[in-house]
């Protein structure tokens, strides 16, 4: 796979309103698999996106689209194979000391998918939260830590906070545990919270409460959020901007309402048609059985072409570049978003 031309597309580099908290440029992550035979799995390829201040960006895609790999790259769990991540203007590659990495992690914490296994069952919520504070906010003394823990628990709606601190995870419901996850993240005074499928394990009646909480954190605490999900309806509900991934590529991005009402990429259209909505007519056939993307040694070409209803010849040997279709709305498709400039 050669260097993708995505970075040279008119989409990147265009000034967008707001200041970027975090930006990725041609971010790439490959995994070597298959031992001696030496196959390469392209989890993320030439992925360029930005997250502005006080913005919720939804990263949408199905299993195997690379969205969780993006989250782990941003959380510095994985090292990128190529490309660059810039946090508030500074490339992450420049972070050298443990202190700098720790400082980054406290500004960009992660909330995990499974609230049942992400909290230590043998310690109280207070123990877990105060330890995190001790590590990430060394300037606070004991009473300040206690006060901070209570304050963030109240901010996520766990009241009375003093009681919540004394509880063990098993004494809490899934929704409450996930709130603890957000409170923990919040206590580090973050700039950006990475939330990887934070509500998919929760009951439907509780999900909306968490989504509302995310919007409140943006409005009241001024944090940005990357909301990773496969549920495009909840993405619309909570996010300002939507980024759609398929097979490691960014295929479409733009303001949520714009992307949902005028989807350009055939994959986005397919995703939207698959959303179960009792208020709408059913519009999908069983023809597309939802095969996972082929990302092992994918070569050139659009990765959606195997499933695409409008694929043409060129799709099988040229990777489509991200092209602007309307203000702040980009898509990577040879057919639907015919490049205007090239």
């Amino acid at each position: 796979m050669t260097e993708s031309p995505v970075t040279e597309s008119p989409a990147a580099g265009n000034p967008v309103a707001g200041t970027a908290v975090l930006e990725t440029k041609a971010l790439t992550k490959h995994f070597r698999i298959g031992g001696m035979r030496g196959h390469t799995l392209h989890a993320v390829d030439a992925f360029s996106m930005r997250i502005d201040e006080r913005e919720i960006v939804a990263l949408v895609g199905e299993s195997g689209s690379g969205k969780s790999t993006v989250a782990r790259l941003l959380a510095m769990v994985f090292r990128p194979t190529g490309g660059e991540i810039t946090f508030r203007g500074r490339p992450l590659g420049e972070l050298r000391s443990r202190r700098e990495v720790l400082a980054y992690r406290s500004q960009v914490p992660m909330v995990f998918q499974d609230p049942f296994s992400s909290l230590n069952p043998s310690h109280t919520i207070g123990h877990v939260m105060l330890r995190g504070l001790k590590l990430h906010r060394p300037e606070l003394n004991r009473t300040e830590r206690q006060a901070e823990a209570e304050q963030v628990l109240e901010a996520v709606g766990l009241v009375p906070a003093r009681q919540a601190l004394a509880k063990y995870p098993y004494e809490m419901s899934g929704g409450q545990r996930q709130r603890v996850g957000f409170a923990q993240a919040l206590s580090y005074r973050p700039k950006l919270v990475l939330a990887d499928e934070p509500v998919s394990m929760l009951d439907v009646s509780i999900r909306v409460g968490l989504l509302n909480l995310m919007a409140r954190l943006r409005d009241e605490q001024g944090v940005s959020l990357l909301y990773i999900t496969h549920d495009i309806a909840s993405a619309r509900y909570v996010s300002d901007r939507v980024v759609v991934m398929y097979g490691g590529h960014l295929v479409e991005q733009g303001p949520s309402e714009e992307v949902l009402h005028n989807p350009v990429h055939p994959y986005t259209k397919l995703l939207l048609s698959a959303v179960p909505d009792p208020r709408a007519r059913i519009s999908i056939s069983s023809a597309d059985i939802g095969e996972p993307p082929r990302v092992v040694d994918p070569g050139e070409g659009c990765r959606f072409r195997w499933r695409c209803p409008v694929a043409v010849d060129v799709c099988s040997h040229v990777t489509p570049v991200l092209t602007r279709c309307s203000p702040a709305h980009d898509a990577a498709c040879h057919v639907a978003a015919a490049p205007a400039g090239s």
């Binding site: 299993s63 439907v204 496969h230 009792p278 208020r279």
Partner: protein
């Protein structure tokens, strides 16, 4: 309904614990007609999977049926011995489990697993087994070459389809499904639902489909059961339940789904969380979370009131209908 294929009568299931037994299912009754698609929805811990296991006679201790009947084709299955059940299971009714990822044996090929199921139920001929295996696999849209495949060589969607194919080996009259699509992506989920419906139309089996995702069954089920804290909160034709939900819990559930159509509206969901089944609230089990709760709700337990062909367990509808309990 005299021609019902399945009648569930006042079925109750308890989990025996050291303290108070947990009432996972409480006096659930409904009929299922041949070829009907019944959806059962509810949150985790509402007893929907326990109900399904009780119907399929698959409960194991500490869960046990404490009262009620499950009459399948005229015979009460609760009274049957394991030996008697074996003649009915898989041949007349089959089960599709939630995690197809783990429900298939990882060290046996699909053909071997299909063969095992058929041999266990008396099919000896290798030729018949091979032919039928190919037939059912083709039915669910998988190329029969995959009979020689092992589960890890199939995608999640294909494994789930293989499970459904296995459930159809003997052309049962009832297929019981426990969240068969919950591990799949939205697109795969949707196409599997369409395919299940097509298979049903073609082969005419009845389906009981348990899910936590109400909108998933909205286009497919004929009738819908909404469960809360082990009880039927509402039961009625799917379209009517969606268009005009009666129970405040159903209304809350419907309002908890963000839509991709129409204007963006603020949603609230249902505040609070489901109750502990061994310490249920007094009166109506839903009253602590209910937006329309009245003083009466905390002391009087509502019965299931019948309004036409709909049933609802809520005191607000006490005057509208007749009591069926």
């Amino acid at each position: 309904m005299a021609d019902a294929i399945l009648e569930v009568r006042e079925l109750s299931v308890e989990y025996l614990t050291r303290g108070e037994p947990a009432h996972a299912v409480e006096k659930v009754s409904f009929d299922l007609s041949p070829g009907e698609f019944l959806g059962i929805v509810g949150e985790s811990g509402c007893g929907k999977s326990t109900l399904l296991f009780a119907i399929a006679q698959l409960l194991s201790p500490p869960a046990q049926i404490s009262a009620g009947e499950v009459v399948f084709k005229g015979r009460n299955m609760v009274q049957m011995t394991d030996r008697q059940l074996r003649t009915v299971r898989w041949k007349d009714y089959s089960v599709v489990m939630q995690s197809a990822m783990n429900a298939l044996n990882p060290v046996k090929s699909i053909a071997a697993q299909f063969g095992d199921a058929m041999e266990a139920h008396g099919t000896r001929s290798k030729v018949t087994i091979a032919a039928r295996s190919r037939e059912v696999l083709a039915l669910v849209g998988i190329d029969p070459v995959h009979l020689e495949s092992f589960p890890h060589q199939l995608s999640g969607g294909m494994r789930q389809r293989a499970m459904i194919a296995m459930a159809l080996l003997f052309s049962p009259e009832l297929v019981v499904m426990d969240e068969p699509t919950s591990a799949l992506d939205v697109v795969a989920q949707r196409s599997l639902m369409v395919q299940i419906k097509e298979l049903q139309r073609e082969l005419g089996f009845a389906i009981i489909f348990v899910t936590h995702d109400m909108s998933l069954v909205s286009h497919f089920s004929d009738r819908l059961v909404v469960m809360y804290a082990g009880q039927v909160a509402e039961l009625g034709p799917t379209a009517e339940v969606f268009d005009d939900p009666l129970h405040p819990y159903t209304i809350g559930l419907l309002e908890a789904f963000p839509s991709i159509h129409g204007p963006k509206v603020h949603l609230e969901g249902v505040p609070g969380s489901p109750p502990d089944l061994s310490a249920l609230p007094s009166g109506c089990h839903f009253h602590p979370r209910c937006a329309k709760a009245m003083p009466l709700c905390s002391s009087v337990e509502p019965a299931l009131y019948t309004i036409g062909d709909r049933h609802v367990r809520c005191l607000l509808h006490q005057g509208d209908g007749t009591c069926s309990e």
